[in-house]
């Protein structure tokens, strides 16, 4: 993997690919960040394994499904905990976040007349619910990270939930989630993450 050639293919947004990019950036692993315009996508589609973006080429082979890829790179770069129980805790966060993501999907797939109402539900019900789960899981560990005393995929997933695609629909994180806020700040001030984010304003 250290000398593997990795190409991440996705649109020029955070969306579903950002977590893959964050894992690779955090790990300091170079990769080609291939951002595709909407009009170029149809000609690339046949190369994708499942007709969707993101897909990733690893040494010439293609793989799909953002969470599968995030897990793979997390494991490659020691961001997946030290035990099976650690992995269970990481997977809980990952799957909760998938549920959170589905709440956002409800907003942009809503009929125009219903959109405002659905967005309100996301901001007033779903977002506090998932932020609350993340805050509680941090507290149940040591208050700093989700697993042990080190950054894992779980921390990057939640950082992405607040600063990426989900966060753009929920509005800013309120102060009443202090552990979550501190975690997001800590990840955000990591040198590699900060440099990467600066490149993609």
């Amino acid at each position: 993997m250290a000398s593997s050639k990795i190409i991440v293919n996705y649109f020029d947004l955070t969306g579903r690919a950002e977590i893959i990019r964050l894992v690779l950036v955090y790990a300091g692993k170079e990769f080609e960040d291939n951002r595709i315009s909407r009009d170029k996508w149809p000609e690339i589609k046949p190369k994708s394994p499942f007709g969707q973006l993101p897909f990733v080429e690893i040494d010439g082979k293609v793989y799909g499904q953002s969470l599968a890829l995030a897990n793979f790179f997390a494991r490659e770069f020691n961001l997946y905990g030290r035990s099976n129980l650690d992995s269970l805790k990481i997977d809980q966060v990952a799957q909760l976040n998938e549920d959170f993501f589905q709440e956002v999907v409800k907003v942009f797939t809503a009929d125009p007349e219903k959109k405002a109402e659905v967005e309100k539900k996301l901001q007033e019900e779903a977002a506090p619910k998932f932020w609350g789960f993340y805050e509680r899981l941090l507290k149940e560990n040591n208050g700093r990270y989700f697993v042990d005393d080190e950054v894992t995929l779980a921390d990057l997933i939640v950082y992405d939930a607040i600063t990426g695609f989900i966060g753009s629909f929920t509005g800013p994180l309120p102060d009443r989630y202090p552990l979550l806020k501190a975690l997001v700040e800590k990840i955000g001030s990591n040198q590699r993450i900060a440099a990467y984010k600066a490149k993609h304003q």
């Binding site: 599968a68 897990n71 992995s87 997977d91 809980q92 990952a94 799957q95 998938e98 789960f133």
Partner: protein, 202 residues
């Protein structure tokens, strides 16, 4: 884990918990299959980690999210392949299945009968062939009869559950045009542990 006490809590249906039951059954690991009535659920809800079923108690600690739990037991019982690349193949199958389930959710959560019928038709005519096709393609690309070469992993149990579990309540029966998937489902179904478990649920 060999001596761990495991209690699985879910409704008395296949739904989201069946994959967990299948992993434990395949592995031959004893567990309490606690099937809860809808009326008993509100009283139990505060004990669940995220206000939902299924949740699992492992030696007194509770965990939620069916896929997280399935992954955990799969890893415990050598159903998660031997390499990280194996894990990637398995996770692809798992995540594709989550997408398939989201299409089913659109039927279940439809606001009115017309939308429900339209979404149901979409599942049968578009989603099911698409996802069955992905499973067939991945099996074809494998070096053996299972998703990961010649060993049964969580991926095979997930595909078995898709074709025999709650997802299949919303699709037409699997056609003959998916021979590898059909053969896989038969092989998994013929396992002694799985057969005994399924017989008990009739």
């Amino acid at each position: 884990m060999a001596n761990s006490k495991i209690t699985l809590n879910y409704f008395d249906i296949k739904g989201r918990a069946e994959i967990i039951r299948l992993v434990l059954t395949w592995a031959g690991k004893d567990f309490v299959d606690n099937r809860i009535s809808r009326e008993d659920w509100p009283a139990l809800k505060p004990k669940s980690p995220f206000g939902q079923l299924p949740y699992v108690e492992i030696d007194g600690k509770v965990y939620g999210q069916s896929l997280a739990i399935s992954n955990f037991f799969a890893r415990e019982f050598n159903l998660y392949g031997k390499s990280n690349l194996d894990g990637l193949i398995i996770d692809q199958v798992a995540q594709l299945t989550e997408d398939f389930i989201q299409e089913i959710v659109k039927v279940i959560r439809a606001a009115d009968p017309e939308t429900k019928a339209a979404n149901q038709k979409k599942v049968q005519e578009e989603a099911a062939p698409k996802f069955w096709g992905f499973y067939e393609k991945l099996l074809k690309e494998s070096s053996g009869q299972y998703f990961v070469g010649d060993e049964v992993t969580l991926a095979d149990l997930i595909a078995f559950d898709v074709v025999t579990g709650f997802v299949s309540d919303f699709t037409l029966p699997l056609p003959d045009s998916y021979p590898l998937l059909t053969a896989l489902v038969e092989t998994i179904g013929n396992n002694d542990n799985i057969k005994a478990y399924k017989a008990k649920q009739q």
